[in-house]
């Protein structure tokens, strides 16, 4: 009887203890769920059938929902894996203290039940609240005499809840499998295992460069209207190139910097270059993911913005309400997916910052003992952080500009022929995105510094015992 009570209590306590990692996870899940509901709300709205061109609109939204499901599942899994990696030590400790695997599995089950109840119900409520706003926007843009009404379509709620219960259940199964497969001592060591210095992988770097060249070449030469597969091929090549270049290119560049002794052996450069090099293997995937998400958000937003601003008035003049409906649907599709990718990159950025702060702490405790003042330590962190987070944005901007020829050809079919107009839409999107990215970066940095500070002082307490 007591055991039955213990487990849920432990689950709550451990979620609270890990709030720094758990809270963003819950918030991210809830936000993803809310947006999912909102797409479904529009798609399943009873007034939808009355709209001109309703079949093509709901067809498009159907595709968007599918893409949304896949990407949001990936994002949630990423967050889940991050959370589990951070908690390995705690779980290992439980099992050494005599909790057997059955109990740990039960603890994880309890946590998942709590987490999914909170995030899914919270998400649906948030989604319902947001849907009012989307409704206003939709009605103001749609050329319809009969505006959509506010309602809560049951099917939308059921579908949304179903999708995310499945996603969270799959993650739970993966976590349970991981606990069963790992020995407690490995769980305890977990995150402490130091990474070896990454080798310079010239082959990967060259593959990356080749893939990037091919992807860009397709964009500049091919006609995507004849063959939509080309667009996908270009996107795929660029994503591959991004991952290769971030993982191999960065190491090659940093090693080059390190071999320049006069540059390397200056206090600022020394810690930056060596620290980045050490963590690049793990960082690379995260940074490349931020870059890929950002690129998708940018291309999508700038294209739909352009489409809406450019084709909307044209359709209005010709009175073609079918075309206008489709434009509007595209606009919403772009809006939803961009928002998802923005959330994705925010989450990756946040976790990246927190985990780096965690790892920095040990190094900085040593540096203070060797003779670095606290001010110098902060200086070093502040100069290090932007170096890691500027490249994804810069590369995403580069990709977006390179995709312009491709997207402008698609837009041309819709009657938007003014390249300067397309370019200025793109630049405006870039600018807004850069501002948002910077703000997110600043916010997450604060969390990172706090992390370093906590961990460093913790070490000092230990040292003084």
């Amino acid at each position: 009887m007591r055991r039955r009570i213990l487990c849920p209590r432990l689950a709550v306590r451990s979620m609270r203890a890990n709030a720094r990692f758990y809270l963003p996870y819950l918030v991210a899940c809830a936000a993803v769920v809310a947006l999912h509901y909102d797409i479904q709300f529009l798609n399943m709205n009873s007034g939808m059938e009355q709209l001109p061109g309703s079949s093509s609109v709901s067809g498009l939204l159907g595709v968007v929902v599918l893409a949304y499901d896949v990407f949001s599942a990936l994002i949630i899994s990423y967050a889940n894996d991050f959370l589990m990696k951070r908690r390995q030590r705690e779980l290992g400790l439980y099992s050494i203290l005599g909790m057997d695997r059955r109990h740990i599995r039960r603890l994880l089950r309890c946590e998942t039940v709590y987490a999914s109840t909170i995030s899914i119900s919270g998400g649906v409520l948030l989604g319902i609240a947001q849907s009012g706003g989307f409704l206003l926007l939709f009605n103001s843009l749609m050329p319809s005499d009969i505006p959509l009404d506010f309602e809560v379509p049951e099917i939308a709620v059921v579908y949304t809840v179903f999708v995310y219960v499945v996603v969270l259940a799959i993650n739970l199964l993966r976590n349970l499998a991981r606990v069963s497969l790992t020995r407690p001592i490995e769980l305890i060591r977990g995150t402490d295992a130091g990474d070896r210095e990454p080798r310079t992988r010239w082959f990967t770097a060259i593959v990356g460069l080749l893939a990037l060249t091919c992807g860009y070449l397709i964009s500049f030469t091919a006609n995507p209207v004849q063959d939509i597969m080309l667009f996908l091929a270009a996107a795929l090549l660029v994503i591959v190139a991004t991952y290769c270049l971030f993982s191999a290119g960065s190491v090659a560049l940093l090693k080059k910097l390190r071999s320049n002794k006069a540059y390397y052996y200056q206090p600022r450069h020394f810690f930056t270059v060596s620290g980045m090099l050490h963590r690049m293997r793990r960082n690379a995937a995260g940074l490349a993911t931020i870059c890929a998400f950002s690129t998708m958000a940018l291309v999508m937003t700038s294209t739909t913005l352009c489409m809406y601003l450019g084709a909307g008035p044209a359709a209005l003049q010709t009175g073609d309400s079918d075309l206008r409906s489709v434009m509007c649907a595209y606009f919403f599709a772009g809006l939803f997916l961009s928002a998802l990718f923005l959330m994705g990159s925010t989450l990756v950025l946040y976790y990246k910052q927190v985990s780096e702060g965690y790892e920095d702490a040990r190094g900085f405790a040593v540096m203070q003992q060797v003779g670095m003042s606290a001010e110098e330590v902060w200086d070093t962190i502040r100069s290090q952080a932007p170096l890691a987070f500027l490249p994804p944005l810069a590369m995403a901007a580069c990709h977006t500009l390179a995709a312009l020829p491709l997207t402008s050809k698609i837009l041309m079919v819709l009657g938007i022929t003014d390249f300067w107009f397309v370019l200025s839409c793109c630049m405006a999107t870039l600018l807004v995105y850069a501002v948002i990215y910077f703000l997110i970066y600043r916010l997450t940095s604060r969390e990172r510094y706090r992390m370093v500070l906590d961990r460093t002082s913790e070490r000092w307490v230990h040292a003084n015992e």
């Binding site: 130091g194 070896r196 203070q368 003992q369 003779g371 001010e375 003084n464």
Partner: protein, 257 residues
């Protein structure tokens, strides 16, 4: 000549729950002369780590003074402390505290990088140091590729490359096997023979028997002092054991009384 002078140092740790706090050091005084090799012995809780942290200017005493080369450590301004530590004090820790992401060379260079020393000067200083410590072949490797004994010698090289006035060692053999401990202690003796002042805190009789002078710290006070003088290391070893035994049995007597 007195290099380091500890004058009536006390340290009280305030606890949140109780009013009076815990007295870790009670009116401690001692002198370390230029070129000496001194060991401070004490069990855990005797106050030796507190004392070492105060000597290293990592912590401030509640009262009293610490003079290193006639400069009062307790009066060095907070923002000059890091530089002061870097330039005057070399540190060796029980668990090495090397940075895994740096090569051995870069670990040794660390304090010089912080001081902004030119790269050529760093190389010039490092070469003879790593040769004498027997780690000349290892400079391009990473700490995780080394054994404990090798790591500790790298830490010694890092501590000495700034040519500090005093080398402070906190349980330097604590994480080493007996063979590696032995070789580290002979390194200390060689360094001392060439004029390096060393202050080592330890609870290993074996380690302390390599020093010229042993101070016994207990419950925050110095209780006894032994000098090697003309005696051999083995004799000093036995003398230390006897003192420890006496201190321990007197304690039991106190408890009974």
């Amino acid at each position: 000549m007195a290099l380091l002078e500890v004058r009536n140092v006390s340290k009280v740790y305030k606890t949140r729950s109780m009013g009076q706090g815990v007295e870790a050091l009670r009116n401690v005084s001692c002198i370390v002369n230029q070129g000496e090799f001194v060991a401070i012995m004490g069990e855990s809780g005797s106050g030796k780590t507190t004392l070492l942290n105060i000597l290293a200017a990592l912590d401030k005493p509640s009262s009293g003074q610490v003079l290193l080369q006639r400069q009062d450590l307790t009066r060095v301004r907070e923002r000059h402390l890091a530089t002061f530590r870097r330039e005057h004090i070399g540190f060796v820790f029980q668990d090495f505290n090397l940075l895994d992401e740096l090569t051995v060379r870069d670990n040794i260079f660390l304090p010089l990088v912080l001081s902004g020393t030119p790269h050529e000067e760093m190389e010039r200083r490092m070469q003879p140091l790593v040769q004498s410590l027997g780690i000349g072949q290892l400079v391009d490797q990473f700490p995780y590729e080394l054994s404990g004994g090798q790591k500790q010698r790298v830490a010694v090289a890092r501590a000495l490359i700034t040519r500090p006035a005093i080398l402070l060692a906190d349980e330097p053999t604590g994480a080493l096997d007996s063979h590696a401990s032995q070789s580290l202690l002979s390194i200390f003796q060689n360094l001392n023979a060439r004029g390096q002042t060393i202050l080592m805190v330890t609870h290993s009789v074996q380690a302390a028997s390599h020093a010229e002078r042993v101070l016994f710290l207990k419950d925050g006070r110095f209780r006894r002092q032994l000098r090697r003088g003309e005696h051999s290391r083995e004799e000093l070893y036995r003398a230390i054991s006897r003192v420890l035994e006496k201190l321990a049995t007197r304690d039991q007597g106190d408890a009974r009384a």
